[in-house]
Assembly symmetry: C2
Homo-oligomer: 246 residues x 2
């Protein structure tokens, strides 16, 4: 089994949102795909521990907002890596109410779908939910955000609840094993660069000293130790203490 | 409902293949999505009239080959627009046999998955099939083919059996209605260009006179009427007679 093969599957990134008894909930997922055309139905895969699933199954509705290529990092951080049980993700978010009653997130979105749950399948850790599309619209002609672009830009792992989550240890083993095949000791490869990488333990974002963090005004070549004390992860807002080297 | 919103969902393109009682079958689909990570499971959506579904449900196995960005057009034409009941799609195809027994298509592929069917859901016109991944590998580091790139390159509609198929009339109505909003009569827009487009009625490929068909050695600006008599659709090999203007 080659776990990196899973990275060759193509996905977009979407905000899935719902509302039940006045409580809004939402998360960012990469699994939203059309399963039939007539009637139009879309399937999503949602982790059972995700706070949003409860609202979706009870309200029998959800909305899908298609994220644009350059989406707000705070939106990705909060909807992708935090729980609707812990914070009100919608406090600074612009929404409209769909025909079904679900809130539709407009920030960083280029199109949306309003869905009514028609079926659900227990797949183990996740529930596959099939929704009939009641309505849809296009907000802008910006390019959609693809999972591939997101992974490349933020050097990130999937959150633990994502269907595409692969334990970093499994990926590391593959990389080490590949290096062995090339008969180049891993220690030698690592020794080539004096600049290192620091990983956010909350969301997996990697601060690469060579690249810096231009989105936060940090110049390429800035060592992690020299980052301002109030530096925060551009994805999930975690402080420097949450980063580990490597 | 805005049908063009469905074009904002991101997909890759895959060859799904199977074998039952010595008969190989396969098709090209855009729906292959990881639905859980542990165990790794992938869902596909297959039209009930697709010849491959019978083999998948009987053998309880299928393979997924991830197509590369510049894939062979004959492979897309045969696996995407023809039926395994009518032709032997595998006659010129290089395959290996997966652990499950399914054939894995290697042509134009960058990675593959070998899957065992663990569940299936009737969604109306299609069946959603969930497979547990038994094995996977990477063949090359080429970029994957995305549905977006494919649509842009070939100016194509989805085949009739695809979950993403939208009747061209529905899309046309949206375009006409958008032009009306801009208060620019459609006839006026069309009159601006003397060069027209001809559409393959088999697969939906559009021959645009302005662009020509460089893949077949046809220069930009070549009117359809002046194409060689043996010109064939670069996707599905249909002859000129199968094209209609518009």
């Amino acid at each position: 089994m080659k776990y990196k093969a899973f990275h060759k599957l193509s996905y977009g990134l979407y905000v899935i949102a719902t509302e039940f008894e006045g409580k809004k909930a939402g998360y960012i997922g990469n699994t939203a795909f059309q399963v039939t055309s007539s009637p139009a139905q879309i399937a999503i895969s949602c982790h059972k521990e995700n706070a949003t699933i409860d609202g979706i199954l009870k309200s029998k509705t959800f909305s899908i907002s298609v994220l644009k290529k350059e989406s707000e990092t705070s939106l990705i951080g909060e909807f992708g890596f935090m729980s609707s049980n812990d914070i009100d993700k919608f406090r600074n978010i612009e929404t409209i109410t769909a025909q079904s009653g679900a809130p539709i997130v407009l920030n960083s979105s280029i199109a949306w779908f309003d869905c009514k749950v028609v079926n659900s399948v227990d797949t183990g850790s996740h529930i596959l939910i099939i929704g009939e599309v009641l309505d849809s619209d296009i907000i802008s002609e910006d390019e959609p955000l693809t999972y591939d672009y997101y992974r490349e830009k933020y050097k990130m792992l999937a959150p633990k609840n994502a269907p595409t989550y692969v334990e970093s240890e499994k990926l590391k083993k593959e990389v080490i094993s590949e290096n062995k095949v090339q008969e180049e000791p891993v220690s030698k490869v690592e020794a080539k660069s004096e600049l290192s990488t620091h990983t956010c333990t909350i969301c997996g974002f990697q601060y690469n000293e060579e690249e810096g963090d231009p989105s936060m005004g940090i110049a390429p070549g800035t060592p992690f130790a020299e980052l301002p004390e109030d530096y925060k992860c551009p994805i999930c807002n975690a402080g420097k203490d949450y980063f580990t080297e490597g």
